[in-house]
Amino acid sequence: MSGAAETPMLALQGVHKRFGGLHAVNDVSFSVAPGSIKAVIGPNGAGKTTLFNLIAGNLPVSAGTIAFLGQEIQGKKTHQIARLGMARTFQNIKLFHGMTTLECVMVGRHVQSRSGFFSGLFNLPSTWREERAIRSRAMELLDFLQIADLAHVEATSLAFGQQRAVEMARALAAEPKLLLLDEPAAGLNIYETAEVARLIGTIRDMGITVLLVEHDMSLVMDISDEIVVLSFGAKLAEDTPANIQKNAEVIKIYLGEDDAG
């Protein structure tokens, strides 16, 4: 964090979000260094998903600034932010009904392709090459996530873990600079969780910065370079996994007063 000369991938400065009387996110500031894995943890209701929705542009901030690659993005629309190189997955999986796995991932290529409404309507030859490229890149990603055999199966009919993989493939298809993962291990067993941990490491090695929200402590402690702890909407701590594990306040909010004693 300190003394980083290069522009942070993502920088939050004094971000607030109020829903009527509820102060869901209260003066949160942190930044994410390029090429790192950062995790946001906190008890239920701490404001983690709200924070994600602010970053991705699904919700407007009440105050504060969010900079993505040095450019302020608060107030921009979600699709504009996606276009700048941010992709995400969802805690409650949002795949597209009536589409095959392959088609879902092809939608992820949207920001990396250009054919418009009219060239689609008239099936102009100029779109053919692009369409082939979209398809083959999507197939590569299905291969990478080891779900290529499910390419032509309806995505919403897949098993839970496979649906998570499709979401991951869709997000990666955009070739993002920053990948937001909203509880990537939720609902997975320990083997699948270990698989996800390995996958996130691989994604980081591909040069993609990762910001994740997660409940599974083993996953977070294993893979994160840095951890931000939220409690009741405010930042409680920000440190390396090793130091977070020793932080008395963090232990208190997770385990309760007595156990921490």
Binding site: H79, C104, H110, F117, S119, L121, N123, A174
Partner: protein
Amino acid sequence: MHIKKNLSLAALCLVTVGLHLLTTATGTQFYLTQLTMAAYYGLVVIGLGVMMGYAGQISIGHAGFFAIGGYLAAALTTRNLFAFHDSWIVQGLNSLGLLVAGQDIYGAQLLTVTPWAACGFAVTVAALVALVIGVPVLKLKGHYLAMATLGFGTIVYRVFLASPYFGEADGISEVPAFLLLPDLAGFGPVTINGAADHRVLNFYLAWGILILGMALLLNLIGSRMGRALRSLHSSEEAAEASGIETARCKLQVFVLSAVFAALAGVLLTHFNGGIGPSEASVMKSVRYVALVAVGGMTNLWGTLIMGVGLTFLSLRGVFGVHDDVVFGTILIGVMLFAPKGILSLRLRELGRRLLQGGRS
């Protein structure tokens, strides 16, 4: 994907020819008139089908766009501009070749807009209206979008019904034939015209236009923007996160479906030689929605088959005085027993569902 699409379209061409041969062989060529009309209504239904079934945006106001197309074409090609022939607008239009002079049955001078210019104007107006109302209305979802488009359809209906320029309750009659192509190769001119001696030509024109419209929509569905439309149907949030500008996509498909409806309105009005306010009525809009639902929402071929087939039966008077009752019943029945459309049903399964009281 491409091969399957092209084969299906080729099959539709064969069906078209087959229908013609069948009516000729059985001496029932008069059916071609209703088949022609059904094809134009089919154009409205498939356009709405892409918007409703694939992009998930309901409209209970598409009869409004059909009527805007039909009424403007009718009014411009019949209303006499001779009284204004000194004004610069009329002079200008005339010098551009957009007006046609003639005489009415009493020998008085007539000056009207050519069908081509009227068609262009009518479809453009419908597209602009869709654009202007689409921006605020498409922010609504589900029932609210349905109510807003219903309101739009009602307004259009009332405007046409109340305007003397548009013939009030009588509508507009004596709309001239639409000269598409002059006599080029000695086969005679190509016109959209309901006269009996033009029946076969008009049948092929209407079905040709329907097949062309179908080809365009199938192209769209399979394209990058088609995937974008289908994705925003189930999750606008996930579509936006994938970089899709959902508001713009919805507007584009709304305008496209309005253009399909308006074009169908223009062509059918020339074919029928007139248009009345019932074409703008809410029952018509509900009927288009019902036909899309019966076809299976995300099944453009089902929508085409059901749209043309049921409309044909309705135009033949098979449902008698209970026409609207039949369509209402079909809508309820489909929603209960076959939410994926009639063609998706297997008969045995239908029997089982009926026994279970329609809980799918």
